[in-house]
């Protein structure tokens, strides 16, 4: 199982709630859109997903072969 | 043969038509409709609820219809005023339902126990914006029964609210009525969709149909209903094209089918000196005037509306032309409402006169006779 943080910038309105409450502070708002600035430090806790008013950021769990 | 009040007969007719949901609020002189519905509906497995106010009564009625039931409410003037916003919603969202309005004397709280026919124009134009109205006015207890069945048929067939314009005279009148064991009348039920849910477009009118099929909530078609302008998917849109299309559809489904909706009774119109156009409880006064008129040497014809809206303008015009009628006297319990429609329809083809009353009393035959004499003397 691999977890990936996904961002749908088309839906992001740049409110900054996800970045502010991100525990490891790996998110930022650049030109009114969310960006993942440090992929390695992201713990995939998905608090951003829970609090995103626009469903623009989420953690996807993918089955990994092998 | 049973002795029933007009208000009770409405409920019996509704149940015969398949009504299984009633939500209302008590108001004189319509309260017996709610009382009879509360008593009778559980016997047929139906539901009755007394809501907290008139607005809620209309809203819950529409809710019941959306859940798939044939639904009805009843009210009178002040309550009708409160219901009109949601009647407009039902028109816009195309939700079939029936509203019994037992007209009482107004304006405002008026004379609650006295008759009137003062809500006729409100039945047509009560809610804001352009929408069609179907309104039927019975003149007897047994007609209240049959007219309510027809109201449900029209509501289901055209997916629109239908108003039964009772008045206190008919609502509180007790008459013998034969309730048929087996109804000799077609009962129309709304069409349900037959397509797969993923292909369902809630407001798309299928080729050759008048209105879209309507599933009840919970039947597997998850769709959206709104009072906003919507397209054929049912979702809101700001498109003027969609707005024009929807609003035209709402009007034309009734305007294109007036022949199906219009019903009236004609009595002795051939060679009449004066044609008396009337409806509802007042038609009984007019009937009683006929003998007096004959004795006074006046040939009196009667045009009794059963369908008040849409108004039978073409039919009236044709009858006036065909029989070379010189005078039309409109008898109604108001300050002059349907007379405006008559005037508009006839465009000067005959003299249009009015007799009404706005003091809470009924019209009496001698008063109608006096007016007939005046009309004849001046014409």
């Amino acid at each position: 199982m691999a977890k990936t943080l996904k961002i749908n910038t088309a839906w992001c309105k740049g409110c900054g709630i996800c970045a502010e409450f991100c525990p490891p502070k790996v998110l930022d708002i650049v030109r009114e859109k969310v960006v993942l600035k440090d992929m390695d430090k992201c713990t995939k806790c998905a608090l951003c997903e829970l609090r995103c008013p626009d469903f623009a950021i989420y953690v996807e769990t993918e089955e990994v072969a092998g | 043969m049973r002795l029933l009040m007009g208000n009770e007969a409405c409920v019996e007719g509704a149940i015969a038509a398949g009504m299984r949901f009633f939500a209302g609020y008590p108001i004189t002189p319509s309260t017996e409709v709610a009382e009879w519905a509360a008593l009778r509906l559980p016997e047929v497995g139906g539901k009755f609820i007394q809501m907290e106010d008139e607005i809620a009564g209309m809203a819950a009625t529409i809710g019941g219809a959306i859940a798939g039931k044939k639904a009805m409410t009843a009210t009178s003037g002040p309550g009708f005023s409160l219901k009109v916003e949601n009647i407009g919603y039902a028109a816009m969202a195309e939700i079939p339902c029936v509203i019994i309005n037992v007209m009482r004397s107004g304006p405002s709280t008026g004379l609650p126990t006295s008759p009137s026919q003062g809500d006729v124009m409100q039945a047509r134009w009560g809610s804001h914006g352009d929408y069609p109205a179907i309104a039927l006015a019975p003149s007897s207890v047994s007609e209240a029964y049959y007219v309510t069945i027809k109201a449900f048929n029209y509501a289901e067939k055209y997916r629109t609210p239908v108003i039964v314009l009772m008045d206190e005279i008919i609502g509180h009148l007790r008459e013998g009525i034969e309730l048929p064991e087996k109804l000799d009348m077609e009962i129309i039920d709304r069409k349900r969709p037959t397509c797969a849910p993923e292909d369902f477009k809630a407001y798309k009118v299928p080729e050759g149909e008048i209105v879209p099929p309507m599933p009840g909530f919970g039947e597997g078609y998850r769709y959206h209903i709104t009072g906003l302008i919507h397209d054929e998917t049912g979702f809101p849109t700001n498109s003027m094209e969609a707005a024009g299309k929807l609003c035209s559809h709402l009007m034309s489904k009734v305007e294109d089918n007036v022949k199906d909706l219009i019903e009236f009774e004609l009595i002795d119109v051939t060679d009449c000196d004066v044609l008396v156009l009337t409806y509802g409880g007042t038609a009984r006064t007019v009937s009683a005037t006929k003998k007096l008129a004959e004795a006074a040497g006046i040939k009196m014809g009667i045009f009794r509306l059963i369908t008040v809206w849409p108004f039978p303008e073409d039919e009236l015009r044709e009858i006036v032309a065909k029989h070379n009628i010189k005078h039309v006297l409109v008898a109604e319990l108001n300050h002059g409402q349907i007379v405006r429609e008559v005037d508009r329809a006839l465009k000067g083809a005959a003299g249009v006169h009015h007799i009404g009353k706005i003091n809470g009393d009924i019209l009496y035959p001698k008063e109608v006779l006096q007016k007939l004499q005046e009309v004849k003397a001046n014409g």
């Binding site: 008013p53 | 907290e52 809203a59 979702f235």
Partner: protein, 280 residues
Amino acid sequence: MADIMASNLIRQTFRTDKLPHIWCQGCGHGVLMRAAAQAILNVGFDPDKVCIVSGIGCSSRAPGYMNYNTLHTTHGRAIAFATGVKLAKPELHVIVMTGDGDAAAIGGNHFIHAARRNIGITTIVFNNSIYGMTGGQYSPTTPMYDTATTAPYGNIEQTFDLCKLADASGASYVARTTAYHVPQAIKIFEKALLNKGFSVVDAISGCPTYYGRKNKKGNAVQMMKWMKDNSIDFKTAEKMTADEIKDKIITGEYKNAPAPEYCEIYQKEVIDKVLKGDAI
């Protein structure tokens, strides 16, 4: 819908072709709507039997996005329409999504009477203390002395405590949560949905556009921080003085007292008895 970039939850419970929604940047409503969808999924309701009803206002746009039987009605009347739907078809899970103006001002009468009947409807009030759709007028939950476009000198009216109102009116499940406390919100929504009678959740939302900005409560982030820093639970609040809890949001379960549900009573005490000839 494979090309739509959205989480499994959103794909399963939303009409993704209608997204993004119309709400402003940072509006708490989106958070609460997602939490409600998560709760509906978690409790395992058959989506064909879920019916979402709303009135008018920002909150009331929610049903249009959600992939259930959805009904967007007239201002204030959502609970009245919902009452008709529920009584006509009790097997439906009827959920009202409404706002503070819709539920507590124009629709206040329906709110208290549905609670009194304990009819099986879950009402989630997206409470942002303002009329957002019309541009920031004061509502029955705008705090005293805050400003609004119709209270330019400050709002001089007391507020409704929706939990106390729902409780006093007879609702059998009453709770409060916020758009910040999402895990709590999901749990509360689940319990509200599973309660058979009338459930009310006063869900505190934030309107950065018309409330936060106008009252120096800041932008979306600052409003979320305000919810985070000023919320206490009902148990803690019990031990505090009136002064201490004055500006606090008191969250959690306020009442969980299952009671006979209206439609069930109607079936059992009215229809069944009449059909058996046992009616009084």
